[in-house]
Subunit: 290 residues, 2 copies
């Protein structure tokens, strides 16, 4: 897994325009928030899904770059003063603290846009079929759009300081984080040549993985340390956000996350040992301390 | 042209999720800034380029929606307090004035993302070939990204209150507005089945159209009325922005715009009367009063 994270870093370093490219401040800012940090979970999931269905993970390079750029954009915009107003991200000052709000906003916009430019270059750069390319672009766009990630973010900010029903909390998590995990996994599976049944099981894995991730994230925000997480803790409470531990308590939340991980393994039952990375990631997700 | 503008409005109305779609405030906000206004220049250019090379303009519906969504997103983000801080747009309160900064930011993000979802649906919805679809996505992503529109915006804000050399001013305009015109025109031509020579001439038209548009925009900011323009005037001066009239004077700027329009007509010399819309648009661009 460590080796793959290095490969992902190398792909991003190569895909992003060099820092001195005009306008330099924009490309510096884009690189600042995309390179040198993060667990690269979404990229690893894309690679894992491709491998699980018997594909060559080199086929996922375009998606790996795109999904991490989308993740970086969403974090930059999330941290802006008009959103969560967070000054710290991955143990470093947030993008807008370093480059100012306007450049941070535009760096996020550019990363989102370049993600699609990178996907559109997959046929030329990696020999991906045009039809598959269009399918993967559709997956990412729907996963990141108003019925996916952005929809989840809006629901999140509009329901702060309110008592949330379980289904609203679930909507937020399924969309805010789950939709992008799903796009990474389904996109990776499509690039690996998945058949419809494999795609179904990967989707089931994705839904449970997303929920397990989010519950664990909520638990860590409650119990973790700033030094471990590389970002401020207890911010959910501060922002009046509803979380699993607040709704169910820490113990029951932990059990729910474990049940999701079991479902992930279950979804992979019909897969060979090539699904090893996905199995590893499912177990890792609730054991992590950051 | 008026009939086409109505058709463009109908396409956008149909493509954007209904206002009550969850989260409703997001979809309302997206519709607020995309529907019911604007000259729809980029969409008309896409249609015009498709028709000029002998294509069926119904093939451009996906691009028409996508390019106007990208335009709407860029205006929402441009108007934000951390950018130009404009309260008025197309004669109405800006998006963030109505929906708040956070929702406006996210509505812009969602519109940019949905633009690519819409392009990726062209094979299914309009029978566009997968290869052409990927080419058009590449055109829009490059035109709107860090080496296109966003690059121009960053250069614009980082050079405010500075004496600009002619080439910096040209860089800003070519990127900030020109790149999206070019993507619309080249995308439309590709959807119409342009051959390489036709694509070259459309590109030449695009570059001159973009410059003529921008010079005229600068002149209108200097000489126009808020009521006509639907936005505040003399904002360039207020923000310390360099403009053509400030660099060359009003008269010489007008002459430069006229020369660009002549170049546009020149680029269309080899085209039949099917290039009528593009010819009309080139002449319109410097005669408009808003």
């Amino acid at each position: 897994m460590k080796q793959l994270v290095l490969e992902i870093e190398a792909i991003l370093d190569q895909v992003l325009p060099p820092a001195q490219t005009v306008p330099a401040v924009l490309h510096e800012s884009m690189r600042y928030s995309t390179l040198g940090g993060g667990k690269r979970l979404r990229a690893l999931l894309a690679m894992g899904a491709c491998a699980a269905v018997g594909g060559d993970i080199n086929n996922t390079s375009g998606l790996v770059a795109a999904i991490e750029m989308v993740q970086a954009y969403s974090l930059i915009h999330d941290d802006l003063p008009c959103m969560d107003d967070d000054d710290l991200r991955r143990g470093k000052p947030s993008n807008h603290v370093v480059y100012g709000e306007a450049v941070a906003l535009l760096a996020g916009d550019a990363l989102l846009t370049e993600a699609f430019a990178e996907l559109a270059s997959m046929p030329e750069k990696y020999g991906v079929a045009y039809e598959t390319t269009v399918q993967v672009i559709g997956e990412l766009a729907r996963g990141a759009g108003s019925l996916g990630m952005v929809g989840g973010q809006v629901m999140d900010i509009s329901s702060q300081d309110q008592e949330l029903a379980e289904d609203t909390l679930r909507y937020i998590h399924e969309h805010k984080t789950g939709a992008l995990f799903k796009a990474a996994l389904r996109g990776g599976a499509l690039l690996g040549g998945a058949n419809p049944e494999e795609l179904n099981q990967i989707t089931r894995y994705a839904e449970n993985f997303g929920l397990a991730f989010q519950i664990t994230d909520d638990i860590l925000d409650e119990t973790g340390q700033t030094e471990q997480l590389g970002k401020a803790v207890k911010t959910d409470q501060l922002h009046g956000k509803q979380t699993y531990p607040r709704l169910y308590g820490l113990e029951k939340s932990g059990e729910m996350a474990e049940r999701c991980v079991m479902e992930c393994h279950d979804a992979l039952n019909g897969f060979s040992q090539k699904a090893g990375l996905l199995r590893e990631l499912a177990s890792f997700i609730i054991q992590r301390d950051h």
